[in-house]
Amino acid sequence: MAPPPVLKARDISVAYGPIRAVQEVSITVQAGSTTVLVGANGAGKSSLLKALVGLVRMSASELTVGGTDVRRLNTLARVRDLGMVLLPEGRAVFTGMTVDECLEMGRRIGHMRERSGKVESALELDTVFEIFPNLKERHRLLGQQLSGGEQQMLAVARALLMAPSILLVDEPSVGLAPKIVKSIFQTLEAIIRQYKVSILLVEQDSKLALDVASYAYVLSHGRVVVEGLPEAVRELPELRAAYLGEVSAVPGGEASTASDEGEAVNQP
C-alpha cells in the first residue's frame, strides 16, 4: 500500500470579501513528490498556498498534513509542529538582515523540530553552504545587497533549514531573468532528488513547472479545471485554455461555469 499523502486538502475556499479567490479546490501531495499547480495570474494560486499555512482565512472540508487535521491550528503550529514551510513569492528575504542572520532564522526552526522529535535531523549550515556556495561567500552581506537570484537562493536555503515536511513554493520565477529561473529550478530539482522533500509548487510558467512535476493541477479562476500526470496535462486543451481564459469552451471543464453552489469538483 502506498504511504499516506503528506498533504490532503478537500474543498479549500478562500474569499476576500465578495471576491472568491479559491473555490472548492482539492489537492493531494504524495510523500516525496513534486506536485505543481499551474495557472495564469490571478487564478488563486498564491491565495491557496497562504490558506494552507493559515495566513489567510479559508474554509475546507478536509486539510491534513501527515494525517493530522490542521484546520484549527494557527500558522505558528503549522510551521513549527507540522513543517509546512511556505516560500513566498518574490525574493522573500529580510532585506535588513545579513545572510547569516536570515539562515539562522530558518535553522532555529529546524533545530526546534529536531529537538521535539518531529524530524530525525535538520540540515546544518555547512550542508546548505555546499548547495549554495554563493551564499557562503556573501554570508556577511545584507539581504538587500544580494542580486535577485541570490535572494531567491537565500529564501530556498532558509526554507530548507526549517526541515520542512512539505515545502510550499510560490512562483519562484517571478521577476527573475530566464537564465536565473532555470538555475533555480535546477537547484530545486537537485534538492528534491537528494533530500526527498515533498513540494507543492505554484507557478505561472507551466512549461518550467511541468518539467519538474510528478503530478499537476491546472487552476483557473479559483478552481481546479484539470489534473493528472505532467506528460498528459501538457497536451491537454484545458491547460492552454486556463491561460487564455476560454475555460468555458472546453468540454469537461465542469468547474468553469459560474455556479456558486457547485459540489466538490475533480475528485481524483
Binding site: 505558528l76 510551521v79 516560500l87 522573500a92 535588513g96 538582515m97 539562522e104
Partner: protein
C-alpha cells in the same frame, strides 16, 4: 565656552525625556504599524505609581521607584490585550484614534484621582548640584542621562544581537514573511509593547526625579516632541530616535539660551518641517513602509 557646554548638557538632559518616550513609540510602530499616542501617558503613569507606592503604600523611595519603573510591563500587556490587539490588526486609523482615546482616558483618570495640579515626587536622590569645572549637574540628572544612554544602547544591542531582537526586526520588516518563517509574531508584538511601555515608565520615574513634580498632563506635554523625534529619525528607527531625541533637546536648550524661551517649541517643529522636506523618510529611515 563653559556656557555653551552647559547649554548642550542641559539639552541632553531635556533630550533624555524625549528619547525615553520616542524609542518605545518607534518600536511599537515598527512591529505593529501603530502610532501609539498613549505611549507618552505611560510615562506619567510610571511617576504616579512611584508616588502612590511611596506615599500611600508606605514603601521606601527606591522600592517605589523600582515598582514605578516596572509598572509599564503590566500597563503594556493590559494595553495590548484590551486595545491594541483589537484595533491594531485591523486598521491604522482605528488604532491611532484608539490610542488617542486611551491617552485622554489616562489623563482624565489621573486628574480625577490627584487633581490637575499634580503631585510632588519624593526625591530619589538629593538634588544638590555638583560643579565640574564650572558645569552644573545634579545626581538625578546624571542618573537620568546615564540610564537613557544605557537603555537605548541596550535596546539596540537586544535588537541586533539576540534572537528575540532578530524576531522583532523580522516582524518590523514583514509580518507575513516572519510568520511564514515560524516567528511567533504575537509574542514578539506583546514583548515589544511591554518593552516600550516599561521604557516609558522608567522615563517617568527618572525624569520626575529631576523635576520633583508630575501632573496628569506631563505625558501629554511631550507627545509633540515624541512625534517630532520619531518622525525626523525615521519611523521604526530606535538608534535614530536616540540621536534625534538628544539632538532636539540640545536645539531646544540652545533656542532658549540664545533666542528666547517662547521659541522653544517652534525650534522642534521647524526641524521637523525642514527634515521632512529634504528627507521624507526621516534621517535614519528606510524608504519603505508607510503605515
Amino acid at each position: 565656552m563653559t556656557e555653551l557646554v552647559q547649554v548642550v548638557l542641559n539639552g541632553l538632559i531635556i533630550g533624555s525625556e524625549y528619547v525615553l518616550v520616542a524609542i518605545g513609540f518607534t518600536l511599537i510602530f515598527g512591529v505593529m504599524g501603530v502610532m501609539n499616542v498613549a505611549q507618552a501617558d505611560f510615562y506619567a503613569l510610571g511617576a504616579f505609581v512611584m508616588i502612590w507606592m511611596c506615599v500611600n503604600a508606605g514603601l521606601g523611595v527606591v522600592a517605589g521607584a523600582i515598582l514605578g519603573s516596572l509598572s509599564g510591563l503590566l500597563f503594556g500587556v493590559l494595553y495590548y490585550f484590551l486595545v491594541l490587539s483589537r484595533l491594531g490588526e485591523k486598521d491604522f486609523f482605528a488604532a491611532f484614534i484608539g490610542s488617542v482615546g486611551v491617552s485622554y482616558f489616562i489623563e482624565n483618570l489621573l486628574t480625577s484621582i490627584v487633581g490637575s495640579q499634580g503631585e510632588a515626587v519624593p526625591p530619589l536622590l538629593p538634588s544638590t548640584f555638583h560643579s565640574w569645572g564650572g558645569l552644573l549637574i545634579s545626581d538625578p540628572q546624571i542618573l537620568l542621562l546615564a540610564a537613557t544612554l544605557a537603555i537605548s544602547v541596550g535596546l539596540l544591542l537586544v535588537l541586533k544581537r539576540t534572537p528575540f531582537g532578530r524576531d522583532i526586526r523580522a516582524v518590523s520588516e514583514s509580518r507575513f514573511l516572519a510568520a511564514a518563517t515560524g516567528v511567533n509574531c504575537r509574542l514578539v508584538i506583546i514583548g515589544s509593547v511591554a518593552i516600550a511601555s516599561v521604557i516609558a515608565t522608567i522615563g517617568g520615574v527618572l525624569v520626575s526625579a529631576t523635576t520633583l513634580t508630575i501632573t496628569p498632563f506631563s505625558g501629554g506635554d511631550v507627545v509633540l516632541e515624541m512625534f517630532v523625534v520619531a518622525i525626523v529619525a525615521g519611523m521604526g528607527s530606535v538608534g535614530g530616535a536616540t540621536i534625534v531625541g538628544f539632538g532636539l533637546g540640545v536645539i531646544e536648550s540652545m533656542t532658549v539660551a540664545y533666542i528666547g524661551s517662547s521659541w522653544e517649541e517652534v525650534a522642534g517643529l521647524l526641524v521637523l518641517v525642514v527634515v521632512l522636506i529634504l528627507r521624507p523618510q526621516g534621517l535614519f529611515g528606510r524608504q519603505v513602509r508607510i503605515g
